[in-house]
C-alpha cells in the first residue's frame, strides 16, 4: 500500500497480518500540554528498573546525595546505572513494593529530597561535537547515564547498541508509533521536544554507522509528525525520514513496525539486527541526546496518567522513583469510578494491586480505568473454533489450536505451532467471543516450557556428572586392583616355583585371601571413636570381650549337635 507522507511523496508500506482498530481514547491526555511535577516528598528507586541483573547500590542510609549522583552501578553484562533524580538524603536501602505483575517487593533506595535540586559537581562534560568522538566514548556515556529502552521493556540501551552481529546495521528505526490506546507520552514528547529526539537519532546513527533513520509514526498523531518534520526541514537532516503509517494495533511492535516500513520480517526467535536494522523508542533517543549533548543522566521521563479513574488525565514529566500516589494526586486524584490501575496500555499492560509502588524508567503510562472502560470479562465459555483470533493475530499464529494444545499440555504441538512467536499483544483475547483469556494460557505455557528447558539442561548436566563419576570410580577400582595384584605377586611366586604347592590350590588360596580382604574392608567400622574418655574405652573393651565370649559359645552350640 502507498501512503502519502509529510513531504508530499507517496511511500510504499507493507501490511502485517491481522491487527485491530481500537478506540484510541488518546484525546483524554493528549489535548493538554506536558506538565511538570514538583519534587515529591519521597522517591523510591528500585535497584532493578531494567531487564537484566539488579544494580549494585553505592550509597548507605543517611548519606547526602546530589542530583545526578550515581546511586547504583550496573552489575554484570546486562544491567543499568541508577542516579539520584534530585538532591537529598538517603533514608534507607530496603525492600519496597515495586511495579511488577507479581506485586512483590524488591530492594529499593529510598531518597528524601531536600527540595533544592543541587546538581552533582561531578557530572561529565557535554559532548556537543559527538561526530568527532569515537562511538565507544559515546557508548560509555550512554552506559553512565543509565539509559534504558523507554518504550516499556527497559532493556539497557548501551547493551542493545553493542549487540554483536554478522550484519552491519544500515537502518535505524525510531519507534514513535505508540499504538496502544490511551498512551500519549511519546506523542507529547515528539510534539514538545522534537529537537532532542532528532539529536538522539543523529547520535545513534553515528554510533551504529548507519546510513539512514526512519521514524515511524501513526497517522493519528499529525502534530507530532509536523513537529518532527519541521525540525528536519530546518536543519536539512537528509538522513532522517518521517514515515506516516496507518493506525492499527499493534503496529508499534518492533517486528510489526519493521515489516510495515521495510517489508522485511525479523526471523522467528531472531533479532532485527539480523536484517541490519535496529529499533529504538523516540523517548530513548531523547534520553541519549540528554546524556551525550547535555551530560545528564536519565532521571526523569514523560508518563501518561490517564483513564476515567483520574480527574485530570494528562502527560507529566516525572522524576524516576515518584510514588504513584503523588502522580495520581497531581492528576487530580482518583474519581469515584477508579476500578483498575494498569501500568502500561490497556492491551499489554499489567494491573497493580495497589498504588504503593513508584514510577520506574520504563513506566510509560499509568491508566486508572472505570468499570465501563475495562469491564470484568464474563466467564469463559467453550471455544467454538470460530477463528476470529487467527484472523487478528499479527504473528499469523493459530490461537485456537494453541489454546487446545496449551489446555491439554501437549507441549510438542505447542512448539510446533510456534508458541514462542506470540508477542502477547492481546488481539486474540480481545476478539474472542467465548471470552477465553488466551494470552494468559500462552504465558503460562511459555513459562512451563522455559522451566522445562532449564530442567532439561540441569538433567543433562547431572547426567554428564554422573557418567564422569562412574568412569572415575571404575578407573580408581582398576588402579586399586592393579596395586593389589602387584603386592600379591612376590608372595605367591616362590611357592609356585618350588613346585610343592599345586597351582590350583594356590589360586584357591589367593581367592580366599581376596574374599577375606574384601570382607574386612566391608566390615562395619566403629564410628565416633576418636575422642573417647578412658572410662568409655574400658566399657567398650568390656563389651567386646562379652561379645567374643557369646560368639564362641554360639559357634560351639552350632557344632555340637
Amino acid at each position: 500500500m502507498y501512503i502519502s507522507q509529510p513531504d508530499g511523496s507517496q511511500r510504499r508500506l507493507w501490511n502485517f497480518h491481522g491487527g485491530l482498530r481500537l478506540s484510541e481514547h488518546k484525546e483524554l491526555s493528549s489535548t493538554k500540554p506536558v506538565s511538570k511535577l514538583p519534587i515529591p516528598e519521597r522517591l523510591i528507586l528500585p535497584l532493578q528498573q531494567h531487564i537484566g541483573t539488579p544494580s549494585q547500590p553505592l550509597v548507605q542510609a543517611g548519606e547526602r546525595v546530589y542530583a545526578g549522583q550515581t546511586l547504583a552501578n550496573p552489575q554484570g553484562d546486562v544491567s543499568a546505572t541508577l542516579h539520584a533524580p534530585t538532591s537529598g538524603t538517603i533514608l534507607a536501602v530496603t525492600e519496597h513494593a515495586i511495579l511488577h505483575p507479581s506485586g512483590l517487593t524488591a530492594p529499593c533506595i529510598i531518597l528524601k529530597p531536600d527540595g533544592c535540586h543541587t546538581w552533582s559537581p561531578n557530572l561529565p562534560p557535554p559532548i556537543t561535537d559527538f561526530h568527532t568522538h569515537d562511538p565507544n566514548v559515546i557508548l560509555a556515556r550512554i552506559k553512565w547515564a543509565g539509559v534504558v529502552g523507554l518504550g516499556g521493556a527497559a532493556f539497557p540501551s548501551n547493551v542493545k547498541l553493542q549487540t554483536n552481529t554478522h550484519t552491519k546495521i544500515h537502518t535505524l528505526i525510531l519507534n514513535g508509533v505508540e499504538c496502544e490506546p490511551y498512551i500519549t507520552c511519546d506523542d507529547a514528547l515528539m510534539r514538545t521536544y522534537p529537537n532532542r529526539i532528532l539529536q538522539g537519532a543523529q547520535i545513534l546513527l553515528h554510533i551504529l554507522g548507519a546510513n539512514h533513520c526512519l521514524i515511524g509514526i501513526e497517522d493519528n498523531k499529525p502534530q507530532a509528525i509536523a513537529a518532527l518534520y519541521n525540525v528536519i526541514q530546518q536543519y536539512q537532516l537528509s538522513q532522517i525520514q518521517i514515515v506516516k503509517i496507518p493506525t492499527i494495533y499493534p503496529s508499534g511492535g518492533e517486528k510489526q513496525l519493521i515489516k510495515i516500513l521495510t517489508g522485511l520480517e525479523v526471523p522467528s526467535q531472531g533479532l532485527p539486527s539480523m536484517l541490519g536494522i535496529m529499533c529504538h523508542n523516540v523517548g530513548t533517543a531523547a534520553a541519549i541526546a540528554d546524556a551525550v549533548v547535555l551530560g545528564l543522566p536519565l532521571i526523569s521521563r514523560i508518563t501518561t496518567v490517564t483513564g476515567r479513574g483520574v480527574n485530570n488525565p494528562h502527560n507529566v514529566e516525572l522524576l524516576i522513583g515518584t510514588p504513584i500516589t503523588t502522580a495520581i494526586t497531581h492528576a487530580g486524584g482518583y474519581t469515584d469510578s477508579a476500578h483498575r490501575l494498569i501500568v502500561g496500555g490497556p492491551m499489554m499492560g499489567f494491573t497493580a494491586p495497589d498504588d504503593s509502588a513508584p514510577i520506574t524508567k520504563g513506566t510509560n503510562c499509568l491508566l486508572v480505568t472505570s468499570p465501563q472502560e475495562t469491564p470484568n470479562p464474563p466467564p469463559a465459555s467453550p471455544c467454538i473454533r470460530c477463528g476470529q483470533c487467527a484472523q487478528v493475530c499479527p504473528a499469523n499464529l493459530l490461537p485456537q489450536q494453541l489454546y487446545w494444545y496449551c489446555r491439554s499440555q501437549n507441549l510438542q504441538q505447542v512448539q510446533a505451532h510456534n508458541l514462542f512467536d506470540c508477542i502477547e499483544c492481546g488481539c486474540c483475547s480481545y476478539v474472542c467471543p467465548a471470552s477465553i483469556p488466551l494470552v494468559q494460557y500462552y504465558r503460562a505455557t511459555k513459562s512451563i516450557l522455559r522451566e522445562q528447558t532449564v530442567a532439561k539442561r540441569k538433567a543433562e548436566q547431572a547426567r554428564l556428572r554422573h557418567t564422569a563419576r562412574q568412569s572415575r570410580m571404575q578407573r580408581l577400582e582398576q588402579e586399586r586392583q592393579q596395586r593389589l595384584q602387584q603386592r600379591k605377586l612376590p608372595q605367591t611366586l616362590p611357592n609356585a616355583t618350588n613346585g610343592q604347592v599345586d597351582p590350583k590350590q594356590a589360586a584357591i588360596a589367593a581367592a580366599m585371601h581376596r574374599v577375606a580382604a574384601k570382607k574386612q574392608q566391608h566390615a562395619i567400622q566403629p564410628r565416633n571413636t576418636d575422642n573417647l574418655s578412658p572410662n568409655q574405652q574400658q566399657q567398650i573393651q568390656a563389651a567386646q570381650i562379652r561379645r567374643h565370649q557369646l560368639n564362641a559359645e554360639s559357634t560351639h552350640e552350632d557344632v555340637t549337635p
Binding site: S268, G270, T325, R340, M348, T351, P382, V431, C432
Partner: protein, 359 residues
C-alpha cells in the same frame, strides 16, 4: 485547626486482571444470533414454497432441541439457562428442520433433533467439543433409518396441483392421515435432484428430463428460490465476518468447476453447473452447514481443502451415488478429516520460512 501528626494513608487497592483489559463486543450468542438472522430469508422462502409444514417442523425441532439439551445439561450438572442462551442448540434445530421434508411425521423430527443434540453434541462434551456437525448427524441418522419418509417431498405450491392447507398438513404430520380423496402419489413429487438422478440413471438425456417441467433461472421453478435466499443470508454472514469466504467459495467453486468439465464433455448427460449450485441443499450447505466453526477446518488453507473436498464429494455422490443429495454425507466425511487437515495446513508464521533473498 490543630496541628495533627501527618497520617500516612493506606495504599488504595485495586482489582487485578490479566491483559488485555479491553473487550471486544462479540460473544458466542451474538454469533449465533447473526446466523439465525441470516437464516431468515431462506426460512421465509421455504415457508412460502412449502407452506405450514415448514413452520411445524421448526417449532417441533426447536422445542425438542431445548428439551434434549436441558435434559443432558441437567444430567451433567451444567448450568442450563446460561448454556441454552448461547443459542447453539436452536441453530442446530433450525438447520435440521429446514433440511427436513415439510410433512415429515412429527416423531421423526423429534427423534432426529434429539439424536443431533444428545448423541452428536452433548455426548461429545457439548458445544465446541463435537467432532461432527450435529444437524447433519441428525439428518443422516433419519435418512438412513427412514429413507421413505425422508424422501417424501411435496412440490412447491406453484407446481402443486393438490395443495394441502395448514389443517391438512397438521393432520398429515401428526396422524399420518392424508387429506380425503388424495393418495401419496398425488401430493408428493420428486425433487429436481431426484428427477435428474433417476432420469440420468434411466439413460435419459438432460433435455428429456427437463422436458415438461417448469424451469426457473437455473433449476426447477420454486426449488431454486431457497438456494438464492440462503446465498443471500450467507453474504450477510460474510459481511459480518462470522464466516470467511474460504469454505463457501471452495465448495461452490469446486462444484462449478467439476460440473462444468462434465458439462463440456457431454452436455447430453450432464446438467449445467448452475443446476447443481441451485438445487438441493447446496447453498444451505455451503454457507451454513459446512461453515459450522466447531466441526470445520480452522486454517485458511485447510478450509480451502475442506471446502473443495466437500464440493467434489457432493458432485460425486449426486452423480454416481445412491442418494440424490449429498451435502450431509460430504460434510460428515470431511469432518473426520478436519484434525488431519488442520495439522498440516498451519499458516506461515511471521518470521518463519523467509526466503534467503529477503535477509
Amino acid at each position: 485547626m490543630q496541628n495533627q501528626p501527618m497520617k500516612t494513608l493506606p495504599p488504595k487497592t485495586f482489582s487485578t486482571a490479566t491483559s488485555p483489559h479491553l473487550l471486544g463486543f462479540k460473544n458466542t450468542s451474538w454469533i449465533m444470533r447473526q446466523v439465525l438472522l441470516a437464516l431468515i430469508p431462506g426460512g421465509m422462502a421455504m415457508l412460502y414454497l412449502f407452506g405450514g409444514g415448514v413452520l411445524i417442523n421448526l417449532i417441533l425441532a426447536i422445542s425438542a432441541a431445548i428439551a434434549a439439551e436441558s435434559l443432558v445439561l441437567y444430567l451433567r450438572s451444567k448450568p442450563i439457562i446460561a448454556t441454552l442462551s448461547d443459542l447453539s442448540a436452536i441453530v442446530t434445530a433450525i438447520l435440521l428442520a429446514l433440511a427436513l421434508p415439510p410433512t415429515l411425521p412429527w416423531w421423526l423430527t423429534i427423534i432426529g433433533v434429539s439424536f443431533a443434540i444428545i448423541i452428536a453434541k452433548q455426548l461429545y462434551g457439548g458445544l465446541g467439543y463435537n467432532l461432527f456437525n450435529p444437524a447433519m448427524v441428525g439428518y443422516a441418522f433419519l435418512l438412513i433409518s427412514y429413507p421413505a419418509e425422508m424422501t417424501f417431498w411435496i412440490p412447491p405450491w406453484m407446481l402443486n396441483s393438490h395443495p394441502i392447507d395448514i389443517a391438512g398438513t397438521f393432520k398429515l404430520t401428526f396422524t399420518g392421515v392424508l387429506p380425503t380423496g388424495l393418495d401419496i402419489d398425488a401430493i408428493s413429487a420428486a425433487t429436481p435432484l431426484e428427477n435428474m438422478h433417476n432420469g440420468l440413471s434411466m439413460r435419459n438425456m438432460v433435455e428429456e428430463i427437463r422436458d415438461g417441467r417448469a424451469w426457473g433461472l437455473f433449476g426447477e421453478q420454486g426449488w431454486e428460490w431457497p438456494n438464492f435466499a440462503y446465498a443471500g443470508g450467507g453474504i450477510w454472514l460474510l459481511y459480518q465476518r462470522i464466516i470467511t469466504w474460504h469454505i463457501p467459495v471452495s465448495i461452490l467453486g469446486t462444484m462449478f468447476l467439476v460440473c462444468g468439465i462434465f458439462y463440456l464433455l457431454d452436455p447430453q448427460v450432464s446438467p449445467l453447473p448452475t443446476f447443481h449450485l441451485f438445487s438441493g441443499a447446496t447453498m444451505l450447505g455451503a454457507f451454513f452447514i459446512a461453515t459450522d466453526p466447531v466441526t470445520a477446518s480452522t486454517t485458511p488453507r485447510g478450509q480451502l481443502i475442506y471446502g473443495s473436498s466437500i464440493g467434489l464429494l457432493i458432485f460425486i455422490i449426486r452423480t454416481w451415488g445412491g442418494y440424490p443429495d449429498a451435502v450431509a454425507f460430504s460434510v460428515l466425511l470431511l469432518n473426520t478429516a478436519v484434525p488431519l487437515i488442520d495439522r498440516y495446513t498451519q499458516p506461515r508464521v511471521f518470521g518463519t520460512h523467509i526466503l534467503d533473498d529477503d535477509i
